[in-house]
């Protein structure tokens, strides 16, 4: 292969010598023959004539000799390349237009390919990852949820298909570490003893967890990450055996994981979670409650066992469980998915949009270049006819055309790599790629190869149309013609088609962008149900051992709250377990006493939150009826609740809920029970999960009251609460004083996740905003490309019609007539393109439909806007060549005849 390339390059540049020697050798031959003939008595003139006659046409002969050389094919390829380059040097503007257009297209697709390849094609960072499978719970054959802990142990102990079947907890809040200076926070992951073994990750220091450490309650041991070992323990080997106090309970470090082990990022197993865990501990075997689904299963198949066999195996276990525990396991199953597929599934969804828009962009770029090449091919018809007459074969002419376009696209591809790098940097800002494990621009061998292949394939593709057209055109008429062979017929239609396609694709992208942008505007203005301005939140966590009683916890929080309320610049403050948009919280079922026990009455899905008095006022959530929870709602008083309007409407439609009872279905208690609350107030509904989602039904109870002995709320006296603070001025100014207040109370208490509500709301839009910017960028580039395409087509048209325009002007047509003539042509292309674009845009919106918010996929204003913007830009693109047409000087044109 490299030998070929070397010969090719030598032929490309050292051709002159071969040609010179060829001429010399044949010249010598002829002269020797002439001398010979003269020696035999012919006169010199006669001898020369005879020699030449015997020899035949020298030029054709040379062609045969060139073909007889080794690597002759390369040679003629080199010749084509040289010819192409020579032509391009004569038309630098054309070359530049093509290079820029294509490098944008190739760059964009290469950029996206780089991202896709690192996420989709990257190796999962575990040994023999192709044997790893993930298990999700199904209900009546569908769905994919977490797995019940008790079910997991049954699957683990009864299966015959897995070398090991492990589990981890997909969701867990960070823990507070105390005992070494100021409190700090770590991300943790609870796992079964065999999880790391299943992944085949061995500790670099210390040991694995042991099966006996999984007993109930679990052994207080922990394995830490390499990073934590370096940062907090100075990387010393005697870290094994050192204590680590997590949320007040001491654990012993038994091992350190290797550097670079990834669980969350870069296609790690837990990639749906937020942060990379730094501490791992064994979770205790669950005691009861088969209907609690909190485990995430991962297993390693035994050698030789297929996915299908393993699935049959677990199906059998599922059926046995159904029979043994009909209450909890009716219709429940376990679906196995290969880890590869499981991880790829998430990633693919995130990349469909970039991939689709990039494909559109590359298409437009190709269309543009094909158009330019077609136009040029038309101008060169006379040359092609000449070469054909001189003996060039059709195939050779086609090849020349293809070479022409590849010679253009290869440098464009090189340029495209630069564009790709820049675009990737941009994409990293625009798309949530860090979540997919891409943190920096990717330009590796594979990406370079992709750019090369794209360039060549694009070159061949855009070259094929003009080449085939050139080869099948009857060339004879062009031989006698002057350079002004006017464009008509098929070629013209093809070029018009390309321009129309570009306009249509641009309309699609503009419509997509418009719909999403409009949704974003609507979403930003949506009524959240609370006032987000000048509102600060922070999480305050207290260590359990220092506050064993709920009374002491409450006293702590109450005291902090009083002092924060007294701070200058603080209007009001409150406490809550769940801040809207930040803490999703758990969903419970609530119902009214008259619906209790009736089949099919499962109750209303309800967000349950604990709040302090003053929380609603601080959040700006107005109380519609009744009252707020109060300081008097403490232990020993009747349990009271405040309902959101939406919940009140569902439970007591058309009735006054004040004084009525609401039952909270508690699945954690044994047996499940229904806990009664008296409704004392109704508040305006607020959006809790995401600004996009309607305000969900919610029920609020006092944070000062314990529900001792009951499953809900789980904590008896809170260990972690969020404080919300409404300030008069800049909320950031309140951060330091609040921290100071907490530190004065207890330096082992953690103040974390300090955020303004503005920032929280903003964060919930961040991916949305990225998509908008991304689509905007691509729609803008597409618009630009379409404008260039239209401009090119018309400019070429005008240059072809120069003669006709000159004649018209000479015959008395006005400049306005000429302007109209050109504009009409552009107008037609534009009109058809816009129409097609609008028609195809609607099905195209499928890709962004999930993002739309209070915006119909057929939003008239968006479509009108897209058409208007494109129409304006396109008109500008038409005007330039049209005005140039009016400047044609008939005298000059006609003299040229």
């Amino acid at each position: 292969m490299f030998g070929m390339i070397r010969i090719f390059l030598r032929r490309l540049f050292r051709r002159d010598r071969f040609e010179r020697e060829l001429t010399d050798e044949l010249q010598f031959h002829l002269e020797a023959r002439v001398e010979d003939l003269v020696g035999r008595g012919l006169n010199p003139d006669e001898a020369r004539r005879r020699a030449r006659l015997e020899f035949g046409g020298v030029e054709q002969y040379k062609e045969r000799l060139r073909a007889a050389r080794p690597g002759a094919l390369l040679d003629s390829l080199a010749q084509d390349v040289r010819l192409s380059v020579r032509r391009l040097r004569r038309e630098p503007t054309f070359a530049l237009a093509v290079a820029v257009t294509l490098s944008l297209g190739i760059g964009a697709s290469t950029a996206v390919f780089g991202m896709v390849s690192t996420t989709l094609l990257s190796r999962i960072p575990y040994n023999a990852a192709d044997r790893l499978v993930v298990g999700r719970t199904t209900r009546n054959g569908s769905g994919a949820g977490f797995v019940s802990g008790l079910d997991y142990f049954d699957y683990r102990e009864s299966n015959r298909s897995f070398d090991s079947l492990a589990a981890f907890f997909p969701d867990s809040a960070p823990y507070t570490v105390t005992g070494s200076g100021e409190a700090w926070e770590v991300e943790v992951s609870g796992v079964t003893w065999n999880l790391l073994r299943t992944l085949r990750v061995d500790p670099v220091v210390g040991r694995h967890f042991r099966p006996d450490e999984e007993a109930q309650p679990g052994a207080p041991v922990a394995i830490i990450s390499f990073g934590l070992w370096q940062r907090r323990f100075g990387g010393t080997p005697d870290v094994v055996g050192r204590p680590l106090v997590l949320d007040g309970s001491p654990r012993t470090i038994v091992g350190v994981l290797p550097r670079g082990f990834r669980f969350v990022g870069a296609s790690g197993l837990g990639s749906q979670r937020g942060a990379e865990p730094q501490v791992w501990f064994v979770v205790a075997r669950p005691g009861q409650a088969r209907h609690l689904h909190t485990y995430h299963l991962v297993g390693r198949l035994k050698p030789g066992i297929t996915m299908a066999q393993a699935q049959r195996d677990v199906d059998g276990i599922s059926r046995a469980l159904e029979r043994a525990y009909p209450d909890s396991n009716k219709g429940k199953g376990l679906r196995l998915v290969s880890l590869q597929e499981y991880l790829g599934g998430d990633v693919r969804a995130g990349l469909v949009l970039p991939a689709a828009t990039t494909a559109c962009l590359l298409l437009i770029a190709c269309a543009n270049v094909a158009g330019l090449l077609l136009a040029r091919g038309q101008g060169r018809m006379a040359e092609v006819a000449m070469r054909s007459a001189l003996g060039a074969s059709r195939w050779r002419l086609v090849r020349q055309q293809l070479t022409d376009s590849v010679v253009l696209t290869l440098p464009a591809g090189a340029l495209g790599i630069g564009v790709a790098y820049a675009l990737q940097r941009l994409l990293l800002h625009l798309l949530p790629l860090d979540a997919l494990g891409v943190t920096r621009p990717v330009v590796d061998d594979l990406v370079l190869l992709f750019a090369l292949v794209t360039s060549v394939v694009t070159g061949l593709l855009v070259g094929v149309v003009p080449a085939v057209r050139g080869a099948t055109t009857r060339l004879l008429p062009h031989l006698g013609a002057s350079r002004q062979v006017s464009e008509r017929g098929r070629s013209s239609r093809l070029r018009s088609g390309l321009v129309i396609a570009q306009i249509a694709i641009s309309v699609m992208l503009l419509v997509g962008f418009g719909l999403v942008a409009r949704s974003l505007v609507r979403l930003s203005a949506v009524d959240l149900g609370f006032a987000k301005q000048r509102l600060l939140t922070a999480r305050i966590e207290i260590p359990r051992p220092a506050y064993p009683e709920s009374v002491s916890r409450r006293a702590f929080y109450s005291s902090v709250l009083q002092e924060v309320r007294a701070l200058p610049g603080v209007r009001s403050a409150g406490l809550t377990t769940n801040v809207p948009l930040l803490d999703p919280g758990n969903i419970f079922r609530t119902l009214t006493p008259d619906r209790l026990g009736i089949a099919g009455q499962e109750g209303e899905r309800t967000h349950l939150r604990r709040v302090s008095p003053g929380y609603f006022a601080t959040m700006g959530i107005s109380i519609v009826r009744g009252r707020d929870v109060s300081e008097r709602d403490q232990d020993g008083t009747p349990a009271v609740a405040v309902l959101s309007e939406s919940l009140a409407r569902k439970l007591y439609p058309g009735q006054d809920p004040l004084g009525r009872t609401v039952l909270v279905h508690d699945v954690r208690s044994r047996p499940p029970s229904d806990v009664p609350y008296e409704v004392v107030g109704v508040i305006r509904s607020a959006r809790l999960a995401h600004p996009r989602q309607e305000a969900e039904p919610a029920m609020y109870v006092s944070v000062w009251r314990d529900q001792a002995g009951r499953g809900f709320p789980r904590q008896v006296g809170p260990l972690s609460l969020r404080i919300v603070v409404r300030t008069a001025g800049d909320p950031a100014a309140a951060i330091a004083p609040i921290r100071e207040i907490v530190r004065r109370h207890d330096r082992n208490v953690l103040v974390a996740a300090v955020q303004t509500m503005d920032a929280i709301v903003d964060d919930s839009f961040v991916n949305f905003r990225r998509v908008v910017r991304y689509l905007g960028l691509f729609a803008g580039v597409a618009l630009l490309l379409a404008a260039v395409g239209l401009y090119g087509a018309l400019a070429y048209h005008v240059s072809q019609q120069e003669h006709e325009i000159g004649v018209r002007l000479a015959m008395g047509a006005t400049r306005a007539d000429v302007l109209g003539l050109v504009l009409r042509r552009g107008g037609w292309l534009l009109a058809i393109g816009l129409l097609l674009g609008v028609l195809t845009a609607y099905p195209g919106t499928r890709l962004v439909r999930s993002l739309l918010f209070e915006t119909a996929p057929l939003d008239a204003a968006t479509y009108a806007g897209a058409v208007l913007v494109l129409g304006l830009v396109a008109t500008l693109a038409c005007l330039v060549p049209a005005v140039r047409a009016t400047r044609v000087d008939p005298a000059v044109v006609l003299r040229g005849e």
Partner: protein, 113 residues
């Protein structure tokens, strides 16, 4: 009667190798020498000569260099490479076997069948 030297496939190449094996020759010289050593019984079409020379050179059987001809002109001289010499030996052997086989076949009479 004179015969075309490329009557049978490979014969032209063989003749060229033979001609060049007798001493480096330029293209026209090869032409003359073939006519000479075949006793003017074989002629070579001028058009076929140079493609054959280029092909043989390309296959590494011939090497070429520029030198001065008998009448003091710059000319390209071909000579046999070791590979060319080997090839000439093999081809000569093959040729002789073909010729004797052909001769035997053509001499055959009804009695011998």
């Amino acid at each position: 009667m004179t015969l075309q030297a490329d009557l049978l496939p490979g014969t032209l190449d063989l003749l060229i190798l033979k001609a060049v094996s007798l001493g480096p020759k330029h293209g026209y010289g090869v032409l003359l020498r073939i006519e000479q050593i075949s006793g003017d019984a074989l002629t070579i079409e001028q058009g076929a000569l140079y493609p054959a020379l280029f092909r043989l050179e390309g296959r590494g059987l011939l090497a070429s260099e520029w030198g001065t001809s008998e009448n003091n002109r710059r000319a390209k001289f071909y000579r046999l490479t070791p590979a060319g010499r080997r090839r000439l030996r093999e081809a000569t052997g093959e040729w002789e076997r073909v010729v004797s086989a052909m001769a035997a076949a053509l001499r055959a009479t009804a009695k011998e069948v």
